[in-house]
């Protein structure tokens, strides 16, 4: 494995783990589409960050873009609860508009010889992240992408470790959590902020659309197999790891784009688990029927 391989794969894994950890709770709270909306609507903020700054000071503007993501989830809630717009429509309209706005920004600020490639917005450029090396005193200490996502992963791990019980109660039953005095909406928005930060920081590497795949699919796969939340988190980390590695190898082998290939492997992994669990269910119910008939 070359250095470039190692750096790219590390980036993919850090992003995959961050997404898997957050995704478990999104799947259980049935708000995956809000996550989808957030990951699309950070685009305008990101474009502005690219246009108006360079280098590391853009990190702050990127954090600003993350606030934009939380704002989106607030706008969606405002439309649906205050203005009585159907929730699915409220999600669908808000995020497509903001994403479109981002594309308009790209066209307006960069013209046809764009710095940000429009396609990179969708897929990211995982394959070239290793070019942006950070070297201090002659020692290579990683790439820009790694240093963007690593703190986010640590933040997520801290958030979930410290708030595990609360997140569990909220995801199981928000009303019950509220009755125990837990401020459900505060935790909700804190969580959405993390989703937003994750989509912003992994944007360069995997793009807007495919972040959702990493958020939704490994946890969904794990959910089909487990009976406890701890197991679900653990398994989705494993699934996330395998699809990053396999997807990366596949992309190299076929010479195709990297992040789509990772999400594609995620999807196939889900389908395999889905089929296995369905077949197992059928065999079990057949066995049960046979048992009853014989008895």
């Amino acid at each position: 494995m070359s250095l470039a391989d190692f750096l790219i794969l590390s980036t993919a894994l850090l992003i995959g783990w961050s997404c898997a950890l957050l995704g478990c709770f999104l799947v259980l709270q049935k708000v995956v589409m809000i996550g989808d909306a957030i990951s699309h609507s950070v685009l305008p903020g990101i474009v502005l960050a690219f246009v108006f700054s360079s280098g590391f000071d853009s990190v702050f503007i990127l954090l600003g873009a993350a606030v934009f993501g939380v704002l989106t989830s607030m706008i969606i809630r405002f439309f649906s609860s205050k203005l009585k717009l159907q929730e699915d429509a409220s999600i669908g309209i808000t995020f497509t508009w903001l994403f479109g706005l981002g594309i308009i920004f790209i066209a307006a600020f960069t013209g046809s010889n764009a710095d940000i490639d429009k396609e990179c917005v969708l897929f990211g450029e995982l394959g070239t992240t290793f070019l942006d090396k950070i070297i201090i005193k002659g020692y290579l200490i990683g790439t820009r992408s790694i240093w963007l996502i690593l703190p986010v992963l640590l933040l997520i791990i801290a958030f979930i470790t410290f708030g595990f019980n609360k997140l569990k109660v909220i995801s199981f039953h928000a009303d019950y959590a509220q009755s125990k005095g837990i401020s459900v909406s505060k935790w909700h928005y804190a969580f959405m902020l993390l989703v937003s930060i994750t989509s912003v920081m992994s944007f360069e590497a995997v793009g807007a659309v495919l972040v959702v795949g990493l958020l939704a699919i490994p946890p969904a796969t794990a959910y089909l197999l487990v009976k406890r939340l701890q197991q679900m988190i653990f398994l989705s980390l494993i699934f996330s790891t395998t699809c990053c590695i396999l997807g990366y190898m596949l992309a190299n082998y076929w010479d195709v784009s990297m992040s789509p290939s990772i999400v594609m492997v995620c999807g196939f992994q889900f389908l395999i688990v889905l089929i296995v669990t369905q077949v197992r269910k059928r065999i079990f119910s057949k066995a049960a029927v046979n048992f009853v008939v014989k008895a």
Binding site: L83, I93, L122
Partner: protein
């Protein structure tokens, strides 16, 4: 960016694009109405992402961008995606939003991998295939428009032929099933027309933004009318209008893409609708609120006059009113003026008198207040010290018909629970 208006009106190309995109917009509005009313509009997001691998496989199979083959590819891929979502929701414990997120990202990733495989290949026809990602309205050809027309006519014929069944399934699935309509057939049909619309639409606005064109027009239209036919027509109009505006904008500003502008106009339509729609719109609600508040204050002033006269104060001054009940002084002045203008009140030397009409009106309000208090104690077991608050608001609401009903129910009573006369 360069400004070029002449380009707009001289080029036949422009009209061709305008026509094609408007057609897509109108069709999307109509088709989207059904998903919206079934509260399944986000499925269109999954569908629009899912057609990408269909296009790629179609291209690989045919070796060229034959519109018909690509369309069939889209149709198959979209239907598989809809089926997969349905299967996951029915057979597993995963919820619909997770299923939609899975289908849209998985198919999109699959399509992207195929796309990068095709781009890396050496088929010269591959140029322009990437345009399906964000759409490129300018590439719409006469052959495409031909296909749009055929698809549009087919979709409309299907909708008209099955209108009754679709309407029932959309509004009341259980009832539709009970009278023997095949829900699965109608659902399949709705899926087919949605996928078809998406398939022809992505050429103009691209896979990522296509769902907005399906969702937004009907969401806006829904606020203006309750009649399904009118919703369909309005949605078609909104879709058509936003699409044309998008085409104009990208025509005027050279580097501007069409799709995002179409979506922006759609969003503006929805936003303005939410603010200005009759009855359900923000301003309409605010206006009603203010109107009610104004009426309540006015009626409270009249009521206070009545109470003062009842307790023997004949020459009412402003300070008497203020002493009896809290009013904001600025508001009170305005109300007194408007009451005089309506001949309910007379003013002489800073002393106020109710006119005959004023007396009738004020006694009506006091009557309603006391009737409601009586109703609460007699019929609803309220204690006497808990009825005043409710009556304070309900007195402003009771219509003449309700008043008659109350009177009949209570048998035209003479006094209220606090032993005060009920004025007639």
């Amino acid at each position: 960016m360069s400004w070029d208006f002449t380009y707009l009106f001289t080029e036949i190309l422009f009209y061709k694009v305008l026509f094609g995109v408007s057609l897509i917009g109108a069709l999307s509005g109509v088709v989207g109405t059904f998903s919206l009313l079934r509260k399944k509009s986000l499925i269109s997001d999954a569908i629009s992402h899912s057609v990408l691998p269909g296009i790629c496989v179609g291209f690989i199979y045919e070796g060229s961008k034959n519109p018909l083959v690509l369309l069939i590819g889209c149709l198959i891929a979209g239907l598989i995606s809809v089926w997969l979502i349905d299967f996951i929701v029915r057979r597993t414990k995963l919820s619909e939003d997770t299923a939609i997120a899975f289908a849209s990202t998985f198919f999109f990733a699959l399509g992207s991998v195929l796309l990068s495989y095709i781009v890396a290949g050496d088929n010269p026809e591959k140029v322009g295939l990437k345009d399906y990602l964000f759409g490129k309205a300018a590439t719409i050809s006469f052959e495409d428009i031909n296909i749009f027309m055929y698809c549009g006519v087919a979709i409309l014929v299907l909708i008209v032929a099955f209108y009754k069944q679709i309407k029932l399934v959309v509004f009341n699935v259980d009832f539709a099933a009970s009278i023997g309509i095949s829900i699965r057939l109608i659902e399949f049909m709705i899926a087919v027309i949605t996928v078809l619309t998406v398939a022809i639409g992505i050429q103009a606005v691209g896979v990522v933004l296509m769902s907005a064109l399906i969702i937004a027009p009907s969401a806006a239209a829904r606020y203006w009318t309750n009649n399904l036919v009118k919703v369909l027509l309005l949605a078609a109009l909104f879709g058509c209008l936003a699409s044309s505006l998008g085409v104009f904008t990208s025509g005027i500003f050279e580097d501007m893409p069409t799709g995002p502008w179409v979506v922006t106009y759609l969003f503006l339509f929805v936003f303005f609708t939410l603010l200005f729609a009759p009855r359900k719109g923000w301003f309409s609600v605010l206006k009603r609120k203010r109107k009610t508040k104004g009426r309540i204050e006015r009626e409270n002033v009249l009521k206070t006059f009545f109470q003062l006269e009842e307790s023997g104060v004949d020459n009412v001054r402003i300070q008497d009113l203020m002493q009896r009940r809290y009013f904001e002084s600025s508001v009170l002045g305005k109300i007194l003026n408007s009451l005089q203008k309506d001949d309910l009140l007379q003013k002489e030397n800073n002393v106020y008198h109710l006119t005959v009409e004023g007396k009738t009106e004020s006694s009506r309000i006091v009557r309603l207040h006391r009737l409601w208090e009586l109703y609460l104690t007699k019929r609803m077991n309220f204690k006497e010290d808990h009825i005043h608050g409710s009556a304070e608001s309900v007195e402003h609401l009771i219509t003449p018909e309700l008043e008659q009903e109350l009177l009949r129910d209570l048998d035209f009573p003479e006094s209220d629970p606090h032993n005060k006369n009920i004025p007639y």
